[in-house]
């Protein structure tokens, strides 16, 4: 029992740190949006609004309260699952973005399911075949691709596959309200491909570097000198030591997508939270911006947390230190 206590304690500490980070992020986000130069009520109603209608809206939005009250009220709302009402859509945020969260999640899962194994395979394989022609060709093309911003990748794909060269795939996605994104799989191809092409070069290079470090280690050389078959060298001696970095890679991948969806969804007009965030920024829909930023930050923080915990669990040196 005492064995697990150390690890549990670590998870608890790490979780506390994650919650603290989220708390600071919420503070930053809220303070930032409080600094608005213009009155949100004015912004929503436009220039021609009467003073009374503005005052009424201010009341409704709770703007007459102190900043501290607004903050605690808002935070309480987020924690209890009621993040408030969208200025723009005039409906509860959860109702407004519910479908969009599902859409984004679907895109994210699809891209992860493809890019994580692909990055691991590509990074691992090029590490093993270091300096071979395949390695050189891949690492040079990965280098070029890794430098490209996502929207450039996306546009090139659109030019190639929907508009100019081949007319095989839709350039924009056509998911109707209430329909799941799976209803238009053909429309998923380009957004997913853009995310994958954005992430894989960057991440497979990290995998390659950490694989090389493991393969060049003294213990792998020692395993060979003990007469271990190549399979055992890879699966028993190299892989367990590469697992820690692998979890970090998965976290990186997901974190990368959390940012990537914004541009990619805008590009393909994909009705997810990224597109919603962009639109909300355009019309200054503060409650929606606040909530979406918190959601994306939470994804980011939680993935890192999960990766750190997983790394500790698979690394005896770290795990036993906590006992």
């Amino acid at each position: 029992m005492s064995k697990n206590r150390g690890v549990l304690l670590f998870i608890a500490r790490r979780l506390a740190l994650g919650i603290f980070t989220m708390f600071v992020v919420s503070l930053v986000v809220f303070t930032a949006t409080q600094l608005l130069p213009s009155d949100p009520a004015q912004a929503i109603l436009g220039r021609n609004a009467t003073a009374t209608s503005i005052a009424a809206l201010r009341e409704k939005l709770g703007l007459q309260h102190t900043a501290f009250y607004q903050y605690t009220h808002w935070l309480k709302g987020i924690v209890s699952g009621d993040p408030g009402v969208s200025f723009n859509a005039q409906q509860p945020i959860l109702d407004y973005i519910g479908d969009r969260v599902v859409n984004s999640l679907f895109l994210l899962v699809l891209a992860s399911v493809i890019s994580i194994p692909l990055s691991l395979w590509l990074g691992g394989y090029t590490a093993r075949k270091r300096d071979s022609t395949f390695d050189n060709v891949t690492s040079n093309s990965m280098l070029a691709l890794a430098s490209l911003p996502e929207f450039v990748v996306g546009i090139i794909l659109v030019l190639l596959f929907s508009v100019r060269v081949w007319h095989v795939l839709p350039a924009v996605s056509t998911i109707g309200i209430g329909q799941g994104p799976w209803s238009d799989m053909k429309g998923m191809i380009l957004p997913t491909a853009t995310l994958v092409i954005g992430a894989v070069p960057y991440i497979s290079r990290i995998v390659r570097a950490s694989m090389i470090e493991v393969l060049e280690s003294d213990y792998v050389e020692m395993a060979r000198l003990k007469g271990a078959p190549e399979k055992v060298v890879l699966w028993r001696h190299a892989l367990p030591n590469a697992l820690g970095p692998v979890f970090q890679v998965i976290a990186l991948n997901i974190a990368y997508f959390a940012a990537g969806v914004i541009v990619v969804e805008a590009l393909f007009n994909y009705p997810g939270i990224g597109l919603t965030l962009r639109d909300s920024v355009r019309v200054r829909d503060i409650p929606v911006i606040q909530f979406l930023v918190m959601v994306l930050a939470a994804v980011y923080v939680m993935t890192n947390l999960a990766a750190d915990v997983a790394t500790v669990l698979v690394t005896p040196r770290l795990r036993t230190r906590m006992q």
Binding site: T21, M22, V24, V25, V28, V29, A32, T33, L35, L36, P37, L143, A144, A146, S147, L148, P149, E150, F151, V152, I155, I156, V158, L159, V163, R164, A171, A255, A258, A259, I262, V263, A266, L267, L277, R278, S280, V281, R282, R284, I286, I289, V293, L296, A297, Y300, V301
Partner: protein, 298 residues
């Protein structure tokens, strides 16, 4: 590899240990990268002086190919009827200058914070790096969108936001590199002579993290270009009427079928620019890795 390093025996004359820069310049990838980046910089900075039309001049109806415009237009017209070629020649400067300024800003603060954190280890290190972690919890583009939603998209603000959100990324790399330098005895030697803290940071630590710092600076420049162009692509620019490669792509997407040049040209430019800086960065990091390796062997 040791053998090869040893083979370069001591020459009597003074030979500065090869810097990352000079080693990288010996590689073809770095030179090609520099050439590409150089050409694009010239286009971005000075293209406007050879532009046939002004950035706001109309040459015909929107999205017309070259032969259907009212005035002569080499690559046809863009969304409001602007000349694509002229818009292109005008549209690089805002992105390039913003990205360079943002990166420079981030370098100054990131390096300072990273070095201070590495040298002080204990408390200050903890506080600084925790603060950096909070900034890192938000992807850069989201930070940028929050700021834009507050104050609108002014150029200064975009530079500041991109710069400040890059600071912790550079600080982490510099700290990581400097932590091992701090452990080396020449730092203790300087301390035993009573050198000031500033002098230790500036003349003991800084020269010895210049390799990783250069690599990171280049990587961040690449990302900043992509990020700033991306923000413009999302439709947030200081002056919606002004030409900007990122914005051009967004505006002209609707006209891909009649006249694709309004999209293709800026896409190629941004792609080449980022690939070019990427190539330079790769050259730099190969050079830095090579230099580190030979140090390890010594």
């Amino acid at each position: 590899m040791k053998a090869i390093n040893d083979a370069i025996a001591p020459e009597v004359e003074s030979r500065r240990p090869p810097g990352v820069m000079s080693v990288a310049l010996g590689m073809w990838r770095t030179r090609i990268g520099l050439l590409i980046v150089g050409i694009l910089c010239v286009i971005a900075l000075f293209g406007r002086y050879i532009s046939p039309y002004g950035e706001a001049d109309a040459v015909g109806l929107p999205f017309k190919p070259s032969d259907e415009t009212r005035l002569h237009s080499w690559l046809g017209s863009a969304n409001v009827g602007h000349d694509v070629w002229s818009r292109f020649l005008y549209g690089g400067r805002p992105i390039l200058i913003s990205a360079v300024l943002a990166t420079a800003l981030a370098l100054v603060f990131g390096t300072t914070i990273g070095l201070i954190a590495a040298y002080n280890r204990r408390k200050l290190d903890d506080v600084l790096m925790r603060a950096m972690d909070v900034v890192l919890a938000l992807p850069q583009i989201i930070t940028a969108l929050i700021v834009i939603s507050m104050f609108g998209a002014t150029t200064t603000l975009i530079i500041l936001t991109v710069g400040i959100s890059t600071v912790p990324r550079i600080a982490r790399v510099v700290r990581g590199a400097a932590v091992s330098v701090v452990e080396r005895d020449f730092v203790a030697a300087a301390e035993s002579l009573g050198e000031s803290r500033f002098r230790i940071l500036q003349s003991e630590l800084l020269p010895n993290v210049s390799g990783p710092l250069l690599v990171e600076a280049n990587l961040r420049l690449t990302f900043s270009i992509g990020l700033i162009a991306g923000i413009a692509f999302l439709g947030f620019t200081a002056d919606p009427g002004a030409a900007n490669w990122g914005l051009m792509i967004n505006e002209n997407r609707k006209g891909l079928l009649p006249n694709h040049w309004g999209v293709t040209l800026p896409v190629i430019a941004i792609a080449l620019l980022t690939i070019g800086t990427g190539l330079i960065g790769d050259g730099l990091s190969r050079a830095a890795a090579g230099i580190d390796r030979s140090k390890g062997d010594a």
